[in-house]
Amino acid sequence: MPDAQSLEETRQGLIVRDLSFHYGPKTALDAVSFDVAPGTFCALLGPNGAGKSTLVSLLTRLLVAPEGVISVAGHNLLQSPGKALGDLGVVFQQPTLDLGLTVRQNMAYFAALHGVSRRAVPARIDAALDRLGMRDRAGEKVRALNGGHRRRMELARALLHDPKVLLLDEPTVGLDAAARQSITDHVHDLAQQGLCVLWATHLTDEVRDTDQLLVLHQGQILARGQAGELRSADTLSNWFLSQTEVPA
């Protein structure tokens, strides 16, 4: 039985309860429930078509589910969307950058969309870029950046308004091994510093044994727990395949 303190802590992270969503007759998510506490790196692992993107759309209010509850840092997404989205940082799978604008212009636009005061913006942008070693690229047009730097910039941007929950939807798609490693390590560090992280992926090598793991398959949570305990003696990749295998 969790004590009151840990319940309160979880409340400050991400809570999803009985979330269902249908596209016409097709069920995309079926009564999905899970919690991610602050300071946790939670990997949402699922094969293509498992419902990850639908879940991300629901968590970011691009879609609204008729059933279920989503709470971000204690704010109900349906009842207080402004507060909930204000505490949520998102890196979408598809890039969301204005290629014709500079790194700084892109970040300033985002900061305004989240109500960061105009005076605070330059210092916040510098600090966010510093964290990812990109300060010297601030004046460059995004079009001139390579894929790895664009992704790092999107990550820096997602942290600009000091969110309590960070949501990343397959953020390493299309990146080379070094860039993938760098971004995965950085986000693990952020979780260690207290951020609540939900990392949606289908790549098992991005998940560490100490990470919390949710396996989403055909719209349902198939397994949950610590990655190392779930995979036991097997590799995570084999264990994941065995869990999500569809009989021929």
Binding site: R61, P66, L85, F92, A112, L113, H114, G115, S117
Partner: protein, 263 residues
């Protein structure tokens, strides 16, 4: 509250930055009405006799007659261009950034609308300056008096663009939809001929034109240019703007609207 203005400034500023980067768009927006004015109108001048109709108090040349219609055409094309860029933003992903802002969605859409309207008005005034070089000059206070009409017309046509962008699934479908919106709206209006002239050939066409909200944008602009208010046109444009804004907000509502199919 300052956050709301900060968002407005950022969204409108971004629209301007993008507009500045698209020099071809600016050029096209000017060339289009100038071609109508300098070629089409010149050709029709001799064949089309216009009687004295309000707000004009004397006989006017055909070029003078079509200037308000061409101003409205700039607003129409820009509204559609804005719609196109919304569909593009959705395809490219940057729409998600806008819609996951912590500010209310209606405000985000309204800011977008204000941005596209501001750009439209800039283009209209540039066109009016070029038209003046061609000798088509309005009464001087008319240049100021027309501004509220341009704002309202720009908002109405921008809202129409928002509505269309929530219906159009992908960029490829855009050209087809444009043909069913721009051409009927423009040609079935009083932009090129007065309604009484239209009635001579077909009373039905005249009635269709009279129902077309674009006709009322044109007339609102025309009357304001000559320091008069066409109340009927004003009410028609206000009502159309309100209805289109409501449909746009509905279209972009994540729970009920049309975004469900494709975000």
């Amino acid at each position: 509250m300052s956050g709301f203005w900060g968002v407005a400034r950022a969204i409108i500023g971004r629209e301007f930055l993008r507009f500045i980067h698209q020099r071809g768009r600016f050029l096209a927006a000017l060339v289009r009405p100038m071609v109508w004015l300098s070629i089409f109108a010149a050709g029709f001048r001799a064949t089309l006799g216009l009687s004295i109709i309000p707000p004009y108090q004397t006989y006017i040349t055909y070029e003078t007659y079509i200037v308000p219609g061409l101003c409205a055409m700039v607003l129409l094309f820009n509204g559609m261009q804005s719609s196109l860029s919304l569909v593009y933003d959705r395809e490219m992903g940057s729409m998600r950034l806008l819609l996951t802002s912590s500010f209310p969605r209606w405000w985000l859409l309204f800011c977008r609308l204000m941005g596209s309207t501001a750009i439209s008005i800039l283009q209209v005034y540039t066109f009016l300056a070029l038209a003046a070089l061609f000798g088509i000059v309005l009464p001087l206070p008319g240049y100021v008096a027309v501004l509220p009409g341009l704002v309202l017309g720009g908002l109405m046509l921008g809202a129409l663009g928002l509505v269309l962008s929530s219906f159009i699934k992908q960029l490829e479908n855009f050209a087809g939809v444009m043909n069913f919106v721009i051409f009927p709206m423009f040609f079935l209006s009083s932009a090129l001929y007065p309604l009484w002239k239209m009635a001579e050939s077909s009373p039905l066409l005249r009635d269709i034109c009279a129902l077309n909200p674009f006709t009322h944008v044109v007339e609102l602009i025309r009357f304001l240019m000559y320091l008069q208010i066409n109340w009927g046109a004003l009410l028609w444009v206000l009502a159309s703007t309100a209805v289109l804004c409501l449909i746009a907000v509905w279209g972009y509502d994540p729970a009920r609207g049309l975004m469900k199919r494709k975000t």
